[in-house]
Point group: C2
């Protein structure tokens, strides 16, 4: 029996401490601190976008991104946004809070990303944008999505919260969106505990993000013409994120190493593993997922319980958004079938890929997984 | 001409660095870190409440507090919450986002706190609660407010974001609310850059805050029955707040010293100063405000511009909530007159009370203020 193996663990071996100590020495802890500005500059440059605006987390990033877009493009209430059904609730919620209607599209069996071939059939005259999410570390097929966006005059919201530093056909994830969002949650390639950022090359959009995220303060300070939120990120979080960004290539190399080992060790089990590569991208394994084969009686829940007994932490796959009671209760329902995302929830889970994981632990985990069958 | 004097500055001379370094050494940066738990425990104990739940900031604290209360007490949409008109927009916004109607009550000329004598006349059968805000460092008259709450069966939301460590008749601010909220913004007596907390002695309420602030995750992780938010505070912010809480009495002593000096140096100017004490409380001078006399031609804006030329940063007083276009645009209007909060916006501003302020600077600021007349 191994010691407890968490599903993720950050690696804080760069300038994190140095920068945090600088925050304290200089009294810079608030959201107007220099690491906030540095992170906004460096991260947007890294992702090939012109501007960045830090926020409290990736969920907040999506919420304020849609708020800015709805305002900038004069979208109407209940205009439609296409959202992958296999995804965390944040993207659906961001639509709902902005009085936009999420329309869910099933995912591909192979990549677990949005099924590009199923997008066109849900486009209506009210469709305004597509939230693209690069699931678990493998980019979505952006060129096809961009073609659709052009054909139907749709905006792209690129949720790259699982895809820091990844590339699609050699171009950085986060560079494709009219607006792009990232999370700096503890398990991300750039981690600050909690944190996030909105990127764009459209200054108007980022100005609006900056306005809405800061309570819609005006030149007259406490005079407010609109309602916003306080979504400001502190300089402490930004200090850690800056240090993390400096060594993102090392982080990605570790993740690819872990993923590569799992691919090798688990290649013969009766399950579909995270896709190693597609013609347009390699996987960086933000997480390493597996979907048990249909003809195996075992489901994800039982497998996860057994692994927990072996001290291995896992996480279930996303529960399809079109099935969430939180969404259905609002009357958001239709007759579209989304069999893939429904199935992979039943059969899928992901396993530890913490940055401090040793080869021995990876072998132990793999052996425990093989013992399930 | 002095060097630039900011309106506030934190003092980070305790265990801030030590605790932050511990976060990095142990890999504890996320919201599940031990400083988060410690802060929730220690801060609620300090404020004589049983439970605490940290959040991203004070605005978020109010939003999720009302969300929890509306759920717990089964309030209906557009039930009414009494809110001081002299106050930052966050309290009105928290009502609006939770589909509750804010009803604004004017403030007292002397304390700038809610005018307790004007509360009863706005109570209707739909009134459910009162948001009490301790403005600028002087507690509101809680016993009278609690009497009204008892008489009309209203809940108290005590917004103590400006009142860390202050007491009303010997009892801690934050101990009076059915739910109480605090901010840990950089200029607060307990500062973490950005941050906040919700306190209560009702476990159901705090359980609901914990649920809504964490995306309404369930035991089945990604299955959501309700829509929430991500309002989680990181362990980094909590580490700094823990260090700050350890030396809050020192912070308060510095603030009282600064306030006392201003009281002395400015006692003869034609302006009303922050009230030093009431029978039930002393001022801790979260900020030091002054309201120019009616018979003086000078208004706040001009005074602030002149002080800015002398390198002294100031802030305007709050703009009355019942006059905010962000509120009026939603159709929230009535015929109640609120002359005091309207007047003090025109005539009021506050001056530097940063924790690193020297006696020389306080004298310089006071001399520049006297030179205005």
């Amino acid at each position: 029996m191994s010691e407890f193996i968490p599903v993720f663990e950050p690696l804080l071996d760069g300038n994190e401490k140095k920068y945090l100590n600088e925050c304290i020495d200089k009294g810079w802890i608030g959201s107007n601190g220099p690491f906030v500005k540095q992170l906004e500059h460096d991260f947007s440059a890294y992702c090939c976008q012109k501007y960045g605006s830090t926020v409290t987390n990736g969920t907040a990033a999506l919420e304020v991104a849609l708020q800015a877009m709805k305002d900038e493009y004069s979208w109407s209430d209940y205009d439609e946004i296409i959202v992958p059904s296999f995804n965390i609730i944040s993207s659906a919620q961001a639509c709902i809070y902005n009085k936009l209607k999420p329309v869910f599209v099933d995912c591909e069996d192979e990549t677990w990303n949005i099924d590009v071939n199923k997008i066109e059939q849900v486009i209506t005259p009210k469709t305004r944008g597509i939230i693209v999410v690069h699931i678990y570390g493998l980019p979505s097929d952006m060129y096809k999505i961009l073609d659709l966006a052009k054909k139907y005059n749709l905006k792209i919201i690129e949720d790259a919260a699982q895809a820091h530093g990844m590339t699609y056909n050699g171009k950085k994830c986060g560079s494709f969106g009219d607006i792009s969002t990232f999370s700096f949650y503890t398990n991300k390639h750039v981690a600050s505990g909690e944190g996030g950022i909105v990127l764009s090359s459209d200054k108007n959009l980022i100005d609006k993000v900056n306005y809405y995220k800061n309570l819609c303060f005006t030149k007259d300070r406490f005079v407010h013409n609109h309602l916003g939120h306080n979504l400001r990120m502190s300089n402490l979080q930004a200090a850690v994120a800056c240090a993390q960004l400096e060594k993102i290539e090392k982080t990605i190399a570790i993740k690819k190493h872990i993923g590569g080992l799992y691919q090798e060790l688990l290649k013969n089990i009766p399950a579909k593993l995270s896709k190693a590569k597609m013609p347009y991208a390699e996987n960086h394994y933000w997480v390493f997922g597996l979907v048990l084969n249909d003809d195996i009686k075992l489901n994800a829940k039982t497998a996860m319980e057994k692994l927990a007994q072996a001290n291995i932490e896992t996480r279930p796959f996303f529960y399809s958004l079109h099935l969430q009671r939180a969404v259905l209760n609002l009357g958001i329902k239709d007759n579209i079938s989304r069999p893939v995302s429904e199935k992979i929830y039943e059969k899928g889970f992901y396993i530890p890929t913490g940055l401090t994981l040793t080869v021995e632990k990876i072998e132990y985990i793999s052996n425990q997984i093989k013992a399930l069958f």
